[in-house]
Amino acid sequence: MLLKNLRMIFRELSKQKLRTILTLFGIFWGTTSVILLLTFGMAVKSRTSKTMHGMGEAICVIWSGKTSISYGGFPKGRQLSFFNGDAEYLRQQVPLIGEISPQYARYDVPVNVNGKKQNFTINAVWPEFQDMRNMVPREGSRFISPLDMEERRRVVFIGNEVEKTMFGSEDAVGKLMYIDALPYRVIGVIVEKQQDGSYNGQDKNAIFMPTTTYLGIYGDRYIDNLVARAKDVHKTPQMKAAIVTAMAKKYRFSPEDTQALPIWDTTEYDQFLSTFFNGFTIFLGVVGVMTLIVGGIGVANIMYVIVEERTSEIGVKRAIGAKKRVILSQYLIETFFISMVGTISGFLFAVLLIVIINQAPIEDFVGVLILKPSIAIITIIIISMITLIAGWGPAKRAATLDPVVAINS
């Protein structure tokens, strides 16, 4: 009976080819839009969070600032500077700190490799810097080690762009590099990474060396900035407060002075991003659902037309014994058939587009599109609901037609 019914329904729909196709297209397009919009939203979100974390995850970058409150006999507007021992000092004072590293920076330092000259930014850091700031060495190479620190080795870890500029297509690892006319051995190259946030420039254009080596050559008195991460991410605010307290004690500024110790807390940004992208995804979802509703109206429209055109046929069917629910289910099945074909083809088209888009070189902007099962399931549920609502009215009308009136129409 059901199979017979389906065959009959298919024949009836093929009588209305153009209308059926246009309606199918409405649902098809709605499905494609919803899936693509949601997938895009997710991709942009995950890419942004990934590249944001290219700089490091849940870290605090600390600079010395100017006091804005007079305190302890000092006038306001005093420029603070971190001394060499401050990283050790904070590690002792603030147990909440998981990792910490000082960072020295020197800009436009001349670098020479086999006669090729170019200026780069030199950073000097501790080994802890690697984990906090996501410095992933390429296979077969490494970051600065505690032994490099201890022995003050003249070794450098370089950005992938530095390698490209200075060594071309050659592997830089193990080779010599002259910085300020002194030779250093390259021990590692960073793997290519997406990095949105930065200070002192992007990591791919920088050169890193052990602080001990650096201080032995340049003899800086002051640290440019500190990078720290809490043992427990959720205690980042407490850690920041403890750092301010400890530094305020050492450098005699008011613990309430927010400008004396500027801290860039990436967890705050993460939180903002997550809120922003949730809103963004909801917005895209609403746009998609609107499109689907338009498709649903199209379905309701064609079904009303079909019922209208077949009024006399419905009357005949009722006369030869079709019960109301037979007519009702016939038109509901018909509606479902249209939207099922539309949904499935729209779904497949969306998958095809996703595959094509992933081939295009736009990864830097939107990242890789991945169709999540949750998106597919939600889309299918929404479409089913819209279809049921769209199909119910016409089907109900068909079933409640007065057979006497219907036959003679």
Binding site: M1, K4, N5, M8, R11, E12, S14, K15, S312, E313, V316, K317, R318, A319, I320, G321, A322, K323, K324, V326, P403, V404, I407
Partner: protein, 220 residues
């Protein structure tokens, strides 16, 4: 088999009340071939709809095989129409996208008859009306007379108690009309009960009983 007593039917179209049937008393026995003759507007179609259980009378008693239809709900009436009544319409009313076979099969589908029995029944009834070689043709590939034969086969396929024909020859040329009339007579001789509405007074010559309807009343 069919008993009608003081059947009245009033249509309410806005302000005006139209009394289509004004007290019909009618008795149809098994094996009758009744012709209902009358001019248009005399209430023929209304009578037909009531006999066919498509419409309920405003007042009066109507019993079919001893069952009063007054209390029946829509589902029961649908079943009744499916099993006990076969309709033949003036303009055939076949489904245009279905073959002759599928058109005839439809009442059996609504009745939930199984596949094998359905095939036997449809084949034998189409053969009976002389369309054994036209079973898989669509209506637009059939002549008017052949279409009406399909419709008659559809009416007979569930072995109904009564066949109702509403001007079955009205849309046919005289030759085909003659053949359809002869087919009805043959079916009657096979033992079917038939009620035929027509405005052609000659039709009564074929049948064993006739009534004339004027202004919603039987003139005898």
């Amino acid at each position: 088999m069919i008993k009608m007593e003081k059947i009245r039917k009033v249509y309410n179209t806005g302000k005006i009340e139209v009394e289509a049937l004004r007290g019909i008393d009618l008795h149809i026995r098994k094996g009758d071939f009744l012709t209902v003759i009358g001019p248009s507007g005399s209430g023929k179609s209304t009578l037909m709809n009531i006999i066919g259980c498509l419409d309920k009378p405003t007042s009066g008693d109507f019993t079919l095989n001893g069952r009063n239809i007054k209390q029946m709900d829509d589902n029961t009436l649908s079943e009744l129409r499916n099993k006990e009544i076969g309709f033949v319409f003036q303009n055939f009313n076949l489904l245009p996208y279905a073959s002759a076979y599928e058109n005839v099969e439809m009442p059996l589908l609504f009745a939930g008859v199984g596949g094998k029995k359905r095939r036997e029944r449809v084949t034998s009834i189409l053969t009976r009306v002389g369309l054994a070689d036209r079973m898989h043709h669509r209506p637009n590939e059939l002549s008017g007379g052949q279409k009406q034969r399909v419709a008659i086969a559809r009416a007979l396929v569930n072995s109904p108690s009564i066949v109702l024909a509403d001007e079955p020859t009205g849309n046919l040329d005289s030759q085909s009309g003659q053949e359809i009339m002869e087919l009805f007579v043959e079916l009657w001789q096979d033992g079917n009960t038939i009620v035929m509405i027509t405005h052609d007074p000659r039709a009564k010559d074929y049948t064993n009983n006739f009534i004339t309807l004027t202004d919603g009343m039987i003139q005898s």
